[in-house]
Symmetry: C2
DNA sequence: CTTCATGCTATGTTTTCCGTAGCGTTTTGT
DNA sequence: ACAAAACGCTACGGAAAACATAGCATGAAG
């Protein structure tokens, strides 16, 4: 397993700068989604699989990466965000609201330009 | 080309909820990176390719998606964030700072637990 | 009219992801 | 006690995405 952590070589960047490592991690399928699905509390492996609508192999890969990155941990109640993970997610929470406004905007744009 | 826009079917979610469409879009390789590289101003296709350390085919795919999503536009000076794109990026700007703190934290965690 | 930069396509290889089946273990129910 | 269910997770084959490189068409500049 190629661990993702700051300072290590990263897809698309040899510098290993933290921001690049982070963008690399977050740019993998289901990473953002998993963090998102954990926003309200811990989930079991299988619940997470259902919530994120993915398969065990990808999920397991992502969880391994997220655990190594210190963003997710596996305790008694299942998988949960670490304090660090909660910090990161906090940055994304505004996205929920923004996404709805985006939806309206883009619909409008499409109508203006489209058929 | 499978356009990404809110309300459409999305990888990993049939609901088409805006947030899911957004997470899908952002969870593709180089999407976040491209937005990030455009944070300081417009770049030409080739400059962007260099900055993001990617290849023309992926870059072109991402740019098409980002344009359809109304986040990036192609004008005289090259590719640039739209107002909407700048809004979205604004959400991510704190990541830069956060990533550095993350780097320190994770290094410490690794040292504590590791060899 | 050559040279250069631009935006982009084409092609083949490698990597990643997907979908399903299933294993070993622990909990739950009877 | 024992079957049934849920748990975390692995294996594997096929599909899709990404990577790397080459090259083309256009337009501006020398």
């Amino acid at each position: 397993m190629k661990a993702i952590s700051p300072g290590r070589k990263v897809r698309g960047s040899k510098t290993g700068k933290p921001i690049m490592a982070l963008l690399d991690l977050l740019g993998r399928r289901m990473t953002l989604r998993v963090l998102w699905e954990l926003r309200e509390g811990p989930l079991t492996f299988r619940a997470l699989q259902t919530a994120a609508a993915t398969n065990p192999s990808v999920l397991n890969t992502r969880l391994a990466e997220l655990r190594q990155a210190g963003l997710v941990a596996h305790e008694g109640e299942g998988y949960a965000l670490t304090p660090l993970g909660r910090e990161l997610l906090a940055v994304f929470l505004p996205l929920h609201v923004w996404a709805d406004r985006w939806a309206d905007k883009v619909r409008v744009e499409v109508r203006k330009g489209g058929a």
